[in-house]
């Protein structure tokens, strides 16, 4: 096991990239701590899988280095990296039994047969396939096949990291929850570094200690779920995390105030001069309706989503959402919106600007 370091890493599928747009991964420096449970979150096509394949060695990065601990493995083949990877769609060896499938990575590494048997039984119990162990894999359902894939990924105890590339896409919703819980307990038990690629924020937030958000070939933020929620480093994180996403307003920043369409909005902290296109972002959870003060708000519709309600509306042409607890009265004359000042984040050209005095 080892810490995985990506140094000035970038990748282009184009052999002669001309502009930044030709890069699937823009240059990045990133460290995956040993034993961490990471979720790699981002929209489809943002470079998540590319990054994963670079770590596992299925793809050689066009620029930069990959280090495992102190060892440079940029040019090392997959086999030498001792990495396990689970793919989006089930990969099983059709003609083998479930048992042979699970034992395959161990057999290829010439492990002791007694150990293999014990380990396979243990994994089979974990993924709930004990009863099917001697069946051929080809007759099984997609669910069961993907469980075999997961099992093969977890069967080796000595791996440097286990990479999951949207592994639960084909699994039933209730099984998803169960398997995710098992992955989590597996992580606690063995302490493998795990990187879990997904575009589902619930999956990411429940699985990981640290969530890495990617956007357009870049890592835009790494943090705990709480940090991503409270202080999104990039407007994409604001949109992508949370349901509904963050509200943004074009604003001018003047010290401890922002000016939105001529109305002064108090901020929780003081900002120095902010260059570029400036906006403020506020989560729907931190907005409240009011009768006076704040910005004018027009309600469009109200959605009941169980534990809370979402009020959808407009502030001077900008779409805005407000989340209120279940059962909250919504007064007919509540035509203004107020923001919790300390929950407002300031953005310049999509990147968050830290207020004066905040530690980075």
């Amino acid at each position: 096991m080892a810490q995985i370091t990506l140094k000035n890493l970038a990748h282009s599928y184009d052999p002669t990239p001309r502009s930044e747009a030709d890069y699937a991964l823009k240059e990045m420096d990133h460290i995956w701590e040993d034993g961490g449970a990471y979720a790699l979150l981002g929209a489809s096509g943002c470079g998540k899988s590319t990054l994963l394949n670079i770590i596992s060695g299925l793809l050689r990065p066009s620029h930069g280095r990959v280090l495992f601990g102190e060892t440079d493995v940029t040019d090392a083949p997959t086999a030498a990296r001792n990495i396990a990877q689970v793919f989006q769609f089930p990969v099983v060896y059709d003609t083998m039994t479930v048992r042979e499938n699970l034992a395959f990575p161990l057999r290829n590494r010439k492990m002791d047969p007694g150990y293999i048997k014990a380990r396979v039984d243990q994994i089979a119990a974990m993924i709930g396939l004990e009863a099917e162990l001697s069946r051929k894999a080809r007759g099984l359902t997609a669910d069961a096949k993907q469980k075999i894939s997961l099992g093969r990924g977890m069967v080796r105890e000595d791996v440097n990291a286990i990479l999951f590339d949207e592994p639960l896409t084909v699994i039933d919703p209730h099984m998803k929850f169960e398997l995710r819980t098992q992955l989590k307990s597996l992580h606690r038990e063995f302490g493998h570094t795990m990187i879990y690629v997904t575009h589902d924020q619930t999956e990411a937030l429940t699985f990981a200690d640290k969530v890495v958000v990617m956007h357009d070939g870049r890592v835009v933020q790494m943090g705990t779920p709480e940090e991503l929620f409270e202080r999104p480093a990039h407007s994409f994180v604001g949109y992508f995390i949370g349901s509904p996403g963050m509200n943004f307003f074009e604003a001018e920043i003047a010290g401890a105030h922002a000016i939105v369409n001529g109305v002064e909005v108090p901020l929780g902290a003081t900002h120095g001069p902010v260059p570029g296109r400036t906006r403020i972002g506020i989560r729907p959870e931190f907005c409240v309706l009011d009768r006076a003060g704040g910005l004018p708000f027009q309600i469009r519709r109200i959605e009941d989503v169980g534990r809370h309600r979402i009020i959808r509306g407009e502030v001077m042409g900008t779409e805005v959402n407000i989340t209120v607890p279940e059962g909250t009265e919504i007064a007919a004359d509540a035509t203004r919106i107020l923001f919790a000042p300390e929950k407002i984040n300031v953005y310049a050209d999509d990147w968050r600007v830290a207020p004066l005095g905040e530690e980075m």
């Binding site: 086999a79 990495i83 990969v91 060896y93 059709d94 990575p105 093969r152 990924g153």
Partner: protein, 290 residues
Amino acid sequence: MDKTLNNKAWFLVAPVLVLVAFSAVVPLMTVVNYSVQDTFGNNQFFWAGLDWFDQMLHSERMWAALGRQAIFSAIILAIEVPLGIFVALNMPKKGFWASVCLVLMALPLLIPFNVVGTIWQIFGRVDIGLLGYALAKLGIGYNYTANAFDAWVTVVVMDVWHWTSLVALLAYAGLQSIPEAYYQAAKIDQASRWSVFRYIELPKMQGVLLIAVLLRFMDSFMIYTEPFVLTGGGPGNSTTFLSIDLVKMAIGQFDLGPAAAFSLMYFLVILAISWVFYTVMVNLDKAEGK
């Protein structure tokens, strides 16, 4: 639920029935007709019962041809299937060269059978053929018109040249359908090249290989034109396969009765072997699914 009875729809099937009757049933029944009668021309027929079948079953000539035929099919299957798979495995998967390979591979399949025979007939000639002449210059005594072994080698090589592409193209199609993730997973699992072939590629190619084996078996078992043009069945009877013998009997000797009986048995043998092949392979497939 009450079904609406409307038998008019049967009329719509009629064209197909007529077509099949003329293309298959009528010719086949003609053969059956000949196989149970004797004729001396003038459209005079005499009932012969199963005599011709009996005669053919006890004909050494037919058994010898069947033996040669079986050996020929076995040899070409044993060469073309593994070779075709090997070629497919080594073809580029995409890009310009993949297209070039595909076109080159398809070329032999597009050449008319008698042209293939003629090409090899000339190619192998000791006096003017590139192959025959070169071998002679190298001091290798090769003459497919005089030596039975040389004739066999030439016929087999010709068939391999002509038909391996078919197996290769089918296997290639099978290989192309394997998602990249399988190869990636195999790398992660540290599978050897052999394991990748044995546990990923071969199982995924099974379906197309079944078709390839069946096609190659049936075609090779009925082969006529190429060896007929190349060797005419000689030297002696050494490359006289079933079809060649059948044509000699029917058109050369005008023994229509025995030839018809022979044809029917030939047809049944191919049908039976193909059925056994298919059943065995499909059952293997099912048994593995358990």
